[in-house]
């Protein structure tokens, strides 16, 4: 894989240094068949150091998941060598990423219920379980 030039694919830039692998796991990139590169500790003027992930295929990314993990990541969608930059934001709702840890929550006994969390406090990045309103713990 030539990690400098992608014709069709996705580049996740401005990942906080050290979090590249976490994002790789969250997005389940190990399941992909195409070339994927994680570049760690890339010097950055803005961040000092950063991680970058390059995916050499035009895949669907769950921007909500990504926005929840790190809203400062820049997503570059590359199609026919043209780059479209996407700014992430904290999603209002996230599904299937977090699991409610409250033992009194209905999801603790009815595990087929979808795990849904709602953004309760944007400034402090607090998500609460839709069912029991417990704050999410990462």
């Amino acid at each position: 894989m030539n990690i400098d030039s992608i014709k069709n694919g996705v580049v996740l830039d401005h990942i906080k240094a050290g979090r590249g692998m976490q994002i790789y796991d969250y997005l389940n990139l190990s399941a992909l068949d195409c070339p994927v590169a994680i570049i760690k500790n890339v010097p950055s003027k803005k961040m000092g150091k950063k991680d970058i992930i390059k995916i050499d295929a035009d895949i669907d990314i769950n921007f909500d998941t990504l926005g929840y993990i790190d809203p400062d990541i820049t997503v570059n969608l590359i199609r026919d060598s043209k780059v479209e930059k996407i700014r992430l934001a904290l999603p209002e709702e996230i599904r299937g990423i977090l699991q409610c840890k409250n033992p009194r929550c209905i999801t603790s006994t009815e595990q087929e219920l979808p795990q849904i969390f709602k953004l309760a406090d944007k400034e402090r990045r607090i998500y609460r379980c839709l069912y029991c309103e417990s704050a999410a713990k990462e």
Binding site: N102, R104, C105, I106, S108, D121, Y131, E133
Partner: protein, 305 residues
Amino acid sequence: MRSLIDIQELSVREIDELMDCADDIIEKPQKYADACRGKKLATLFFEPSTRTRLSFEAAMYELGGNVLGFSEAQSSSASKGESVADTAKVVSCYADIIAMRHPKEGAPLVASMNASVPVINAGDGGHNHPTQTLADLLTIRRERGKISDFTIGFCGDLKFGRTVHSLISALSRYSGIKVVLISPDELKLPGYIKRDILEKNGIEYSENSDLAEVLPSLDILYMTRVQKERFFSEEEYLRLKDSYILTPEKLLHAKKDLAVLHPLPRVNEIAVGVDADPRACYFKQVLNGKYMRMALILKLLEVTV
């Protein structure tokens, strides 16, 4: 079709309308005696709560309706492993409205997402109990004439007491309310409620650990049960427990028009001698709970009288 899972789902105007309706029911009960004829309320109580269940049942009977249901999980299909969602779908085929009490937090919400009839949360774990809050609000309004411009003291277990959290949340939308929080350090109101509700809404509040000291300043006193098992040590419990018992002697220093509320059951935090005092409103509160449940059933069934 609407359900009621959390008190915040009702606007201040809707709560006022429910209280107006409850006042009218109190004044003219006969007018409502047949309002729900032919309608059925299902009381699905997955954990025992005799008083709340009886209140809902009495409310429906007084509206001329019928009641079916169960009062513990063992006598329901939950004991066979049926999900809350399925129970809600099945019961929707039999009843026009559901009141659900469940030990798991969020269960009534799951029911409301799956039922084809309105669902009322009759208490889910330590989470919500909106009809208790409606009873509290009606009691305050009937005692004071309005829900504004008073100082309310919450006394006892402010950490785990869901009725306290829910009432504070409901009162935060009214004006001129001052809150005094009276509890031992171990049972203080959680920080997120102070921050997200009291401070966010600019409500003046103070914290104190001595009931007798603050009692003279209160217009309403909301008592709760202090449970021994919440304390870290027996010593601590013994040292603190008497500070949170309301007695006729302590009431000597309270305002003449104070209203004492309690969600009940009480254990020993209000001395029986207080019951005869006209300021004791906790049994009226029980009755008000039934009237508010009647008003709520009418609203959710969209019955006009």
